[in-house]
């Protein structure tokens, strides 16, 4: 299991692309894995025939765990078991340490001669029964030379069987298609339903945990987006609102914080998480690190790049870690209000909903009011009542609104 990021400790096998017996080229994708919601294709480190898959799909193992073995000594053209056949279980395995029916004369001290590591490995690869090989080594040991000569002469154990004994039958177990994972119990007669994908499960776990951990409240502030509209050009609203939010976070640092247990850590730098939808598959929150150093154009460029790579499954786990504040922006779908769930362990999340033209009351400087048509939106921020109070939340949002409405380049 490769380590896909500095602090990644485990990964999940999403799908094997090769089966035992398949040939794989060096750098050809051999398996798909998921680490911390990031899906990655893993290229094979070597060319060869896949010998054994050691971890099944859906299993989660520690980084460094051996996932599969590849026989690099084989050649592409060699005959191999059919892709859908599991290795025939009736083959007799290597005999060692005097167990089983050794046909060689026992060594003078009664112990059978040892099998050296290389002999054992080669015998396994070629599925040779060592008891059938005569040894010229010390104490009648089968040497590497002996085994290689045997394999060359007698052929690969898998290609040419020994003469079957009376008790062995040519019957081969039929390949059984992999059964799907058991369906959730959704009641009688409702059909099997679908198992949630790894990503869905992970998102779900995070959301449930967040709701169970934080004391969620949502505060909503309305803002006039006229200035933003004038300034944004071809950019979407998001980078400009992000810039305004960052400015507000500098003024209200306690919202740029993470809460773990009782410890509130207020951060100097703003690492801004931006929620990116992956369509039906789910969502992911890549992070713009050191966002406070970027202009709105810079933010726009970074967000675009991260979103593109997120959808192409090219993010590294370090790019989804370390956010101090999150913005989610499903606004283009037309919804007006939302109560987002906080991205743990941050203390707040800002949801940017649709910008809609509405008639609003505007005041001129001299106390007169009139009706104007303005592009308006709601900033919906969910926040953790363990870390701050309604006043703090409202003040922060007020500052965001102020920056947005007073936007100037």
């Amino acid at each position: 299991m490769p380590q896909m990021g500095v602090s990644v400790a485990e990964g999940t096998i999403t799908a094997w692309r090769k089966r035992p017996g398949d040939w794989v080229e060096r750098d050809e994708v051999i398996v798909e894995i998921s680490t911390d919601k990031v899906e990655t294709e893993v290229p094979s480190p070597a060319a060869g025939r896949v010998a054994e898959l050691l971890v099944e799909e859906g299993a989660t193992v520690d980084v460094g765990t051996l996932l599969a073995t590849i026989d690099t000594g084989s050649k592409p053209g060699q005959p191999h078991a059919d892709e859908s056949d599991p290795p025939p279980p009736s083959r007799v395995r290597t005999e060692t340490n005097g167990n089983g029916t050794a046909t060689k004369p026992a060594a003078p001290n009664g112990k059978a001669p040892p099998v050296s590591p290389v002999v054992r490995r080669i015998a396994e690869e070629h599925e040779v029964d060592l008891s059938a090989v005569s040894g010229t080594g010390r104490r009648g040991r089968v040497t590497k030379k002996d085994l290689l000569a045997f394999v060359e002469q007698a052929g690969d154990g898998r290609a040419k069987a020994e003469r079957p004994l009376h008790t062995e039958s040519p019957y081969k177990e039929e390949a059984v298609p992999r059964a799907p994972a058991p369906a959730l119990d959704s009641g009688e007669g409702e059909g099997e339903g679908e198992q949630l994908s790894v990503m869905r499960r992970q998102i779900g776990e995070h959301m449930v945990r967040s709701l169970q951990t934080a004391a969620h409240c949502t505060t909503i502030v309305e803002a006039d987006m006229t200035a933003i509209e004038a300034a944004r050009g071809r950019l979407s609203y998001l980078p400009l609102v992000a810039r305004a939010t960052i400015a507000a976070l500098r003024e209200h640092p306690r919202l740029n914080a993470t809460l773990e247990g009782d410890r509130l850590l207020v951060h100097d730098e703003v690492h801004l998480g931006i929620a990116v939808s992956l369509g039906e598959e789910g969502l992911i929150v890549p992070v713009v690190h050191n966002a406070h150093e970027l202009s709105h154009e810079g933010l726009g460029a970074r967000i675009k790049d991260l979103a593109m790579r997120a959808r192409a499954k090219q993010l590294s786990p370090d790019e989804v870690r370390g956010a101090t504040f999150t913005i989610t922006n499903p606004g283009r779908y037309g919804a007006l209000l939302a109560t987002p769930i906080i991205n743990q362990p941050q203390v707040a999340i800002l949801d940017l909903e649709a910008v809609v033209k509405r008639p609003v009351v505007v005041s001129d400087g001299q106390g007169g009011d009139s009706i104007a048509i303005r592009p308006m939106t709601y900033f919906c921020m969910s926040w953790d009542h363990r870390a701050l109070d309604g006043v703090g939340a409202a003040e922060f949002l007020g500052t965001v609104k102020r920056h947005v409405e007073g936007w100037s380049d």
Binding site: S116, V118, R138
Partner: protein, 322 residues
């Protein structure tokens, strides 16, 4: 290409480097007008002068320490210890000052210490040692040990150009016994790469220095077996890949060195193989070395201690038959 001795090749390499770069200079006892105890610097005093061929007082720590100071100031000193054994008298400067300077201070120390090593001529306990393993335990030092005339010249040049302290083990017993076709002019033999002295398929002998020749002689014909002989040439950094590649091919290994047994280069190579090539082994890794004993003086005693051709033959035969 002229055929010259191992000794002449060392001289030649040193001379070429000194001609090429005036910052290269020699320091050691009796290396000036006397030309050195083994005549490696014969003629150097006349060609390069007293400034660049310094007859030092009998003070190994001062020699090595001064070499450090000169090296960090941009010169390239080549120190000669009259016998490798005497490095013990300069050990402190080598191991505590030279070796650690770059790691601690980021200050490179481009210096070479030439060590005439090895026995076989009744030199006794203080003139016959092969002390290379001491330096493998001192991170920051590189160690080379050529066995051929060609490599003697090329490795010395590499050592001189390397920005690190390099110990150059020249085996005294090879000085005049080994000859080779050595190219004229300057050339460098890369450090960290072993040389395939003979290709084979049944068994590998890993060796360096004088023992490479013993290995070749001993395994020329062992009942028709095809024996591969590796000449490590560089002991630190070790050519791990080269060693492992050979092990994968032959699956049987004898490690041979003249130095004493415990914690020697052989121990390091054997461990490396056990750790990294376990599944390629068709037999235990065997070491043929001098036993853990000071090298004795009287010929029959010395012969009993230093690995001989027959010792190597026997070990190989046994492993081949395993």
């Amino acid at each position: 290409m002229p055929e010259i001795t191992y000794l002449e090749a060392i001289s030649d390499g040193l001379r070429e480097e000194m001609r090429h770069d005036s910052s290269v200079f020699c320091m050691g006892e009796d290396i000036g007008e006397f030309g050195g105890a083994f005549k490696v610097t014969d003629g150097f005093f006349e060609e390069f002068g007293a400034n660049r061929v310094w007859d030092t007082p009998l003070a190994e720590n001062a020699i090595v320490g001064a070499a450090v100071g000169a090296a960090v100031e941009g010169l390239r000193p080549v120190c000669e210890m009259q016998f490798a054994d005497f490095i013990a008298c300069g050990f402190d400067q080598l191991v505590n000052v030279a070796a650690k300077m770059y790691y601690r201070q980021g200050l490179a120390v481009p210096m070479v210490v030439r060590l005439p090593s090895g026995g076989g001529f009744s030199g006794g306990p203080f003139h016959s040692q092969n002390p290379e393993a001491w330096f493998l335990q001192s991170p920051g030092l590189k160690v080379v040990a050529p066995s051929t005339a060609q490599d003697a010249k090329g490795l010395l040049a590499s050592a001189i150009r390397d920005p690190n302290p390099v110990l150059y083990l020249e085996h005294k017993n090879l000085y005049r016994r080994v000859k080779g076709d050595v190219a004229e002019g300057r050339y460098q033999t890369p450090m960290g790469e072993l040389r395939l002295a003979r290709e084979g398929t049944d068994l590998t002998v890993v060796s360096y220095g004088a023992m490479v020749h013993t290995a070749l002689e001993a395994t020329e014909d062992i009942d028709g077996a095809s024996v591969e002989v590796l000449d490590l040439r560089t002991l630190c950094p070790l050519d791990r890949d080269g060693i492992l590649e050979s092990v994968r091919k032959t699956s049987k290994v004898v490690v041979l060195h003249e130095a004493t047994r415990s914690c020697g280069v052989g121990a390091e190579v054997a461990s490396l193989i056990a750790e990294e090539a376990f599944e390629d082994l068709d037999g235990p890794v065997v070491r043929v070395t001098a036993p853990d004993v000071p090298i004795p003086f009287s010929p029959p005693l010395e012969r009993a201690v230093l690995p001989q051709v027959d010792d190597v033959k026997e070990a190989c035969r046994e492993l081949l038959a395993y």
